[in-house]
Symmetry: D2
Subunit: 187 residues, 4 copies
Amino acid sequence: MTVAVVYFSEQGTTHQVAEAIADGVSQQSGQCQLLRVTDDQIVDGRFTSAHYIDTIDQCDAVIFGSPTYMGGPAAQFKAFCDASSDCWDNQSWSGKLAAGFTVGSNPSGDQLATLQYFSILAAQHGMLWVNLQMPSDHEQNSENKLNAQMGFAGVIPGDVISRSDRVGAASLGSRVAQLCKRYTAVN
Amino acid sequence: MTVAVVYFSEQGTTHQVAEAIADGVSQQSGQCQLLRVTDDQIVDGRFTSAHYIDTIDQCDAVIFGSPTYMGGPAAQFKAFCDASSDCWDNQSWSGKLAAGFTVGSNPSGDQLATLQYFSILAAQHGMLWVNLQMPSDHEQNSENKLNAQMGFAGVIPGDVISRSDRVGAASLGSRVAQLCKRYTAVN
Amino acid sequence: MTVAVVYFSEQGTTHQVAEAIADGVSQQSGQCQLLRVTDDQIVDGRFTSAHYIDTIDQCDAVIFGSPTYMGGPAAQFKAFCDASSDCWDNQSWSGKLAAGFTVGSNPSGDQLATLQYFSILAAQHGMLWVNLQMPSDHEQNSENKLNAQMGFAGVIPGDVISRSDRVGAASLGSRVAQLCKRYTAVN
Amino acid sequence: MTVAVVYFSEQGTTHQVAEAIADGVSQQSGQCQLLRVTDDQIVDGRFTSAHYIDTIDQCDAVIFGSPTYMGGPAAQFKAFCDASSDCWDNQSWSGKLAAGFTVGSNPSGDQLATLQYFSILAAQHGMLWVNLQMPSDHEQNSENKLNAQMGFAGVIPGDVISRSDRVGAASLGSRVAQLCKRYTAVN
């Protein structure tokens, strides 16, 4: 079972979250493909890496990730999303599992809006959106500070993610991988 | 495999859509529980039927439905949603499949906003949200006039749903039932 | 200049926020009408107070408020929203200022989703939506813990709002009143 | 009074809508600055035109526009939005009027989601969001096919916008200009 994590990270913080998610996938004996969108892949405002799209075509699940910039996903990540329109045309991602994560420097820098966009992207592709299960001790939940359930929403003011953020992100990867095991993509 | 369809219908139009969805579930040999929220179940603004909540607890999937009133689900349906908070406390719906449908009298009476709310409700419960697969002839798609993919969004100005709306709604029920067959709820 | 604050409060916390907002309106020499939706105004799931609707018709601005329940406004408040559909029919609220506030017990109990719904409600009515101005010291902003800018989003785990929440809510009332003074409703 | 229309247009359809909006501004004796985001302004995924940002700083209102791609604004337009973060830091756009428009090839290619994003962008900047007033003959409204009220949402399958789309777009420009006349930006 293979999970793609496709994401943009400007300075490396979102990249650390992606790595923690990959750890969670590995804990479930899943393969994880880390696909980081880079500036040089964007030419004249368009994402150009057919390799990323092809890799996702082969995966059972995709986890979308981006910092929240000005109330939504970074433009660099949106360029990837726009480039997935060919897959929309033939609905080739239909029935795959999808999930998302984002980070911001404020408690509510509109991270929910970024997760909502990811869920709309998944809707356009006919995917199944995986939400988080809130642990029973949710009120004191250091691993999910925002208590977002639509995905992992980190509040990371500095450059290094905390141990609790790492655990929270890993739990998203683990959950997606667990669900993949019990589920076979349907078209 | 059992699918609950919980919905509010003021004058019967949304009820007809719910029945078409049930037909789709039956086509996949699934059991369908039609749970219609009625005015007398709402006392002092609160939904009071423990039976509905208990029934959903036993189902593999839930499809939420409401007309779109003033840019969101009808208050009567929101009363049901609020009453599901006990299930949120113990995350007892986590891992179930969820989907949604709505109807409005205008092409974009903000039906998407109602579907987005349903997806947030599903997120709070840790469910998996089922999006539609768009048929390949999407540009001429009489069974999905709005081409919404987050759920079934009907445009029904009058009292009777058309044959194409019935087919579109049935395809949602059928898709959810198909996915249920291949999927076992995970907590 | 008159500002209506129409809101639902189950146990009084949201009511305290509404009172703080009224203080902010008064600081700008504005009149404030506090309109609290009560359970007995909801009969068979429908809001029945024509008086509230009529009062808002006479005001220059309206501030919508509700706790966030299950990812959206409380059903009791949604009943009020649904009852405003007559005003939508004749667009009698068009050009008025609108704003919103919500409270939840978790940092991100999807308060943004409630504020987004309020903004959609305002859109249906053709109103002008007032967003917050973020103070320059936003990173240490004790009066706006969530740093939401679409409205006031409180995180109030207990029964009594803090002094900083009171100040933050008052600033919303003050901002709406200030804008009212410079602005005459246009239809 | 000056209104900026900042937008992206791949093949010219959105550009035609922007021109119709400019006509509406002119009908109210307003100045209109058409600011079209072009591919060469995006270098390594980042928008680079300080001139656009400076021009908007001098305007009384801003109208955001983009085609809807994959359920949201085009990446090229999002790059502009991300570049406005300096203005967020000092809240220099606070109190300006804002509005939005989008076009898609399907009736509900999630155009509402694009308008919702624009309203969140406006929220981050502390602007006032202008919604449409629905004409009284809304059910037969050829100038607003989707009946969206959060902004102008066109359904334009081909390359040329229809006369009714042009009239609908002009009414957005006209409304924003009218409101500007009665309103002085407040910080």
